[in-house]
Symmetry: C2
Subunit: 194 residues, 2 copies
Amino acid sequence: MKDLPFGFDVIEGSRLDRFDHHIERPLSTLKGLFADAQAYQRMLAEGDRMVYEVYEVRRPAKAGELLTGLSVVHPGRVGGEYFMTKGHYHLVRETAEIYYGVAGRGLLLMQEEGGGWAVEEFRPGRAVYVPPCWAHRSVNTGDEDLVTLFAYPGHAGHDYGAIEQCGFQKLVLRRDGEPQLVDNAAWARAMETR
Amino acid sequence: MKDLPFGFDVIEGSRLDRFDHHIERPLSTLKGLFADAQAYQRMLAEGDRMVYEVYEVRRPAKAGELLTGLSVVHPGRVGGEYFMTKGHYHLVRETAEIYYGVAGRGLLLMQEEGGGWAVEEFRPGRAVYVPPCWAHRSVNTGDEDLVTLFAYPGHAGHDYGAIEQCGFQKLVLRRDGEPQLVDNAAWARAMETR
């Protein structure tokens, strides 16, 4: 069968008109992600809010293909920590990723296994390049949906384990009404005992 | 040296604030591209108009990397044929490409060596996926700049030769004020004698 070109639209500001897989990450699926466990439990007791969603356009898991889709991180905070994605490395470390800001404001928090970290701003019209070997997490620091398009090589795969175990080096917390990067004590502890 | 993440913005609607290579394709560099050679010569005699520009963000030419940038096709026509890019296959045929419409209206004209052709619409907020093995050409059918972001695998390379020799199967011409796809007689002749 011929492999035909196709298009897809970002509609209603925050979803795709055509996708193969819709990932939903409500609060209940994100236990342990946020630093303030008590704030997490209190918020969950009030209802299972949607934290983020991903619309994936499936392609073969090959090096020449691109996996693409839309990431939507809703606005909100657990304690002082902004809503965010789990974050991951690519299973094949030597693969990059590109993001493009469609709506909303936020940060892409990144780190590498050697101990480096970086942060780039998301805003509409801005692209962020994640070089190979950098874990990445989207953080919504605004009051509306943070909507980004992404594309990465078809053979990249996902490795969530390293981040689930240790977290990111930096937390993004709201302080004095502004997002601030704060050292993550849990990450430092996890690194010491590794 | 560490390979650091970075961002870049689409500014003033039609260029990047940060890029490594700016490709300019004025009319004089596009001899033989448009079907109506006389109209081409007449237009060139009046001045060397800019037809399209590309802002490239350089990355290593490796399979896990992504080459990305901005394509800007200016509005205009040579005879009835809309301003367009040269178009190309990837040198490594088994590599895809993704486009995202930032501004303007147009078409992505595509064809494969087996004889298939396809066309997808460009508009702001719409992505177009070019599967492996499809040549692709951007055509501006509107009255303003057609601005698209692109990303393709780092090892893809470019093959302009096949298109320079035979052209695309279809021309995009303005007829009765609307873009129409018309069979390209020169392509059919080139195919017969190949």
